[in-house]
């Protein structure tokens, strides 16, 4: 456990996932965006424009560093080289939050570039908790762990996702990153009620919220199959779930994630404005 600051020092305002094409928009007039999130792996080069832009942004905005490559949910030991790179980045940037996923992406040295699912068992619980401990020890700070968007289930799963995440947080002292779109995607894919899920989620552990867009498909049986694409606007039922979360848990730092088919700044800023209106309706 950590006798350290809370896992998130982000302000309870809207933020956006930073894209280099928006650099001058953000520097000129960031409103309504109060903070930015970057993908850690994009800023692990030695220099050049990415690092220079990041330095300039860090001087102006609270930043959240979001890892997509640590494979915390994997069977293999954590990649020490990658952990060292994260430590270096988090060390010089001193971001307001660091987060990663309840997922795996690397096996046998191959990085598969997707957030892959894991069964929820006592064995995977121990392993994920060990990995979270190792990350927090290496970084010298508590992290946030994000609930996944999943498309299938494991016959061997023996715990529900909320119990699994809550127990990881209890054992390691980490906080949670609550992706409300992922809830809608995963619950729809499991034919479960997303409202019941968000109503049971331990919001006191949540240091950051993600909102992103998803695509709609069908499985072999014609059942809805939602895909976490981050390539379009946040869907209306996800906004409704989000408003419900904020009404119960209070205002939380909220990120608009739009990673593919990235729109022009005004479109992204409008999504942030919509989150900001919901945040402004409740006390922080």
């Amino acid at each position: 456990m950590f006798d350290l600051p809370a896992p998130s020092q982000l302000p309870a305002y809207p933020g956006v996932g930073y894209k280099p094409q928006h650099f001058s928009n953000i520097i000129d007039r960031p409103d309504p965006v109060g903070w930015l999130e970057i993908h850690a792996e994009n800023y692990m080069g030695d220099g050049g424009r990415p690092i220079a832009q990041l330095r300039a942004l860090a001087a102006r905005f609270p930043l959240s560093v979001h890892g997509v490559g640590l494979s915390i949910g994997g069977e293999a030991p954590l990649d020490r080289d990658h952990l060292d790179r994260l430590k270096h980045l988090v060390g010089w940037l001193n971001p307001a939050a660091f987060s990663e996923h309840l997922a795996w992406s690397t096996h046998d040295g191959a990085f598969l570039n997707d957030l892959l699912p894991l069964p929820y068992t006592q064995a995977t619980l121990r392993r994920v908790a060990d990995h979270v401990d190792q990350v927090q020890e290496a970084l010298g700070r508590p992290m946030l762990l994000e609930n996944p968007a999943t498309y299938l289930e494991f016959a061997e799963t023996e715990m529900d996702e909320i119990a699994f995440l809550s127990e990881i947080a209890r054992r390691t002292g980490c906080g949670l990153l609550f992706d409300v779109n992922n809830v809608f995607v995963a619950c729809t894919n499991r034919q479960e009620d997303p409202i019941a899920y968000v109503d049971r989620f331990p919001l006191d552990l949540v240091g950051e919220i993600h909102l992103g867009g998803h695509d709609t498909d069908r499985d072999d049986a014609g059942l809805p199959l939602l895909i976490d694409s981050h390539g379009c606007a946040v869907a209306d039922p996800v906004w409704a779930l989000y408003a419900r979360v904020i009404a119960r848990g209070g205002a939380k730092p909220t990120l608009i994630e739009w990673d593919n088919e990235v729109p022009d700044w005004p479109v992204l800023a409008a999504e942030a404005t919509r989150a900001g209106r919901i945040l402004a309706a409740v006390p922080a």
Binding site: E41, G45, G48, V68, D114
Partner: protein, 244 residues
Amino acid sequence: MNARFARALLDPGQDRPAGLTGPGGAPAGRRFDVYRNNVAVSLTEALGQGFPVVKRLVGAEFFDAMAGIFLRAHPPQSPLLMHYGGGMPAFLETFPPVAHLPYLPDMARLELALRQSYHAADAAPVDPARVTALPPERLPGLRFRFAPALRLIPSAHPVHAIWRANTEAGAPRPEPGGQDVVVLRPGFDPAPHPLPPGGGAVLAALMAGATVAVACDAAPDCDIAALFSLLLSGGAITEVEASP
């Protein structure tokens, strides 16, 4: 589980792993294919973004199919996709369907070099006057250190001209003949430049620490003035050392 999952992800010919279900315990079916698709599509996109001119030269449809073969044989070995594709030049050299495009591996080397240069460490270049103001007799004894963003791509093909023809409207038609190319990054934007004949051999020797006199032996006819003018204007030299 990870091993079976990973093998089936990368090999569409493999059965989907057992023990994966959809709602009500139905077999996962297409649900597993979402992950297969994410892996293949995202890595194919990463390769397409990393090798835009190679992609243009072979056509998008051909490139994506070739990327599918490459990514299964050479999945990324690191989560840093900025470095993905280091094996592409060697792959292209032995991939029979592109054997009729002998310059393609060097084009992949050039595109890798541009990407590496973009992410390379910053370094302050020397004031060009530190070289140009020296009396000519001092030049043969000089050694240099070069910016981390500098890359040299020697080629037996007109690789710079082909690159220009595929990135610049109205660029001249490539003429046959080899071209050594240097990638320079004076600010944050790397750009390739053709070296004068013999320049590749001279620059390679200088980068290995040779003095100008020794490096010139590698290509005695090389236009050294043109080579240094290019290197200095591109911010390629970060230190000048006079031999004792």
